[in-house]
Amino acid sequence: MDCRTFIERLDEFLAGTLWPSERRDFEAHRATCAGCRDLEALFAAGPGEGGAAAPPGLLRDVLERTSGSACRGARGLVCDHVDGALAPVDDELLRLHLNDCPECAGLARALLLMKADLPGLAERRPDDRFLADVLARTAPRGRVAPPLAARLTEAWRRLVQRPRFAFEGAYLGSIFLLLLFGIPASPLAGVPQRALELARVNPVAGLRAVGEDVAPRLQTAVPPGWREKGAELAGATRRLAGEAVRRSTDRLDELAQDLGTLWGRLASLGATNDTNGAAAGADRVEGDDK
């Protein structure tokens, strides 16, 4: 047997499937060939046993060329690993990865430390007045329900402070208008269209057109007898008005005359009184001197 045959049939030898005569030839060659002996020892060893030390970075290079880095998968498991919630096989696989990956190992240690540190953040002591303030706000006098108006006012204040309130209002308003005018069955469905048509009409021109159209029709529609009666009525009205003006003018003249007479009388009466008073005053002065 030569070395080439030994290498080609080494698997069968190790599996024990060779005939006894072939096996004897194998063993005879192995006894004389150191290279084939080493090869057999290498193949016969279990995984991870024997062989030469792998060069640094070989694993990383192989992973880069095949499945890619295993860190991503490891980080998907590391939280459960820290919580002790990982299946034993996954836990062992992760442990092997952590042994070789300092980045993931550091992350796992940080997670473990955080697990102990984070519950310590659950409480923060407020200042000393806090308890007293809370008790004051929930004291018996505060338990009396405020009046309904105050509660409604407060509820409204809170409602309008919500940033979404304006948007919600606009949304509801739009829906309301749509229901009111947008549905064909609604009695107000035609209102927007009519309003638009009305807005497009020039009202002054419309009135002028109506006047030009109606005036001739009125003239022809009114009977001739009505027109004569109308003329008589207009003449009578003018006469009455003239008479009223004339009479009122005469009356005013009479009134003016009466007033003139009255003023004249009053004036003459005043003059007489002045004269008598002056004469009486002169007599009194002369008597005092006496």
């Binding site: 590391v78 992350l107 940080a110 984070l118 310590g120 923060r124 308890l131 008790l135």
Partner: protein, 207 residues
């Protein structure tokens, strides 16, 4: 005062002289009956937790204080609607979250002051027993706060609910109205993101 660290849902306060253990259910039942002392004890028990939640959402100490008060007022007004069979913490956190979201909406509706970072906020709760431990705890907490500042609102919220407040996946799913699978994946993503931020800020964290 001398009471042990309270465990929400379990022991509330231990009366040192009579050794009477008040559990949460007893406190809530007494609160519902109008027991002022029980209400005070409940507020005292949960004030730090409620304030921490408010601070997580508001990110401003002053606003967080006001919102925390509002949360307690809401709790007080709605204690009658709380069913005895359910857990109190998720119910309380639901109210707290809604109150914070309302406050954030109001804040958006008006000009507001700049947000403060977590690390700039008020003092830490429950310091460690020794100065060294206290200093170490403070530095790691500050580091976590600074890292959380870099996260999105959604990731920070789910991290706060799951890993900080300790809600179950199902409770968060109910609270946020999203499937449990989504909660779990978001939660893991948020934790990984936080871990990455922390290591960028301090490579020695977990080394």
């Amino acid at each position: 005062m001398g009471h042990s660290e309270p465990v929400p849902g379990r022991a509330a306060f231990r009366n040192e002289t009579e050794r009477v253990l008040l559990d949460e259910a007893t406190l809530l039942e007494r609160c519902r009956r109008g027991d002022d002392l029980a209400w005070e004890a409940l507020v005292r028990l949960y004030q730090s937790r409620v304030y921490a939640v408010a601070l997580h959402y508001m990110r401003n100490a002053e606003e967080a204080r006001d919102v925390a008060q509002d949360i307690f007022v809401r709790i007080y007004q709605r204690l009658g609607t709380f069913r005895g069979g359910e857990a109190f913490l998720p119910w309380m956190l639901r109210l707290a979250r809604n109150a914070c979201i309302d406050a954030l909406r109001r804040r958006k509706a008006r000009p507001h002051a700049a947000d403060a970072a977590f690390g700039d906020a008020v003092q830490l709760a429950a310091p460690g027993p020794t100065p060294e431990e206290m200093s170490e705890a403070r530095s790691s907490r500050d580091l976590l706060y600074r890292a959380m500042d870099r996260m999105s609102e959604a990731d920070r919220e789910i991290l706060m609910l799951k890993d900080i407040q300790g809600l179950m996946i199902e409770e968060i799913s109910s609270l946020l109205a999203v499937p449990t699978g989504t909660v779990k994946s978001r939660c893991n993503r948020a934790r990984l993101e936080l871990a990455a931020h922390v290591r960028r800020l301090d490579p020695s964290y977990g080394a």
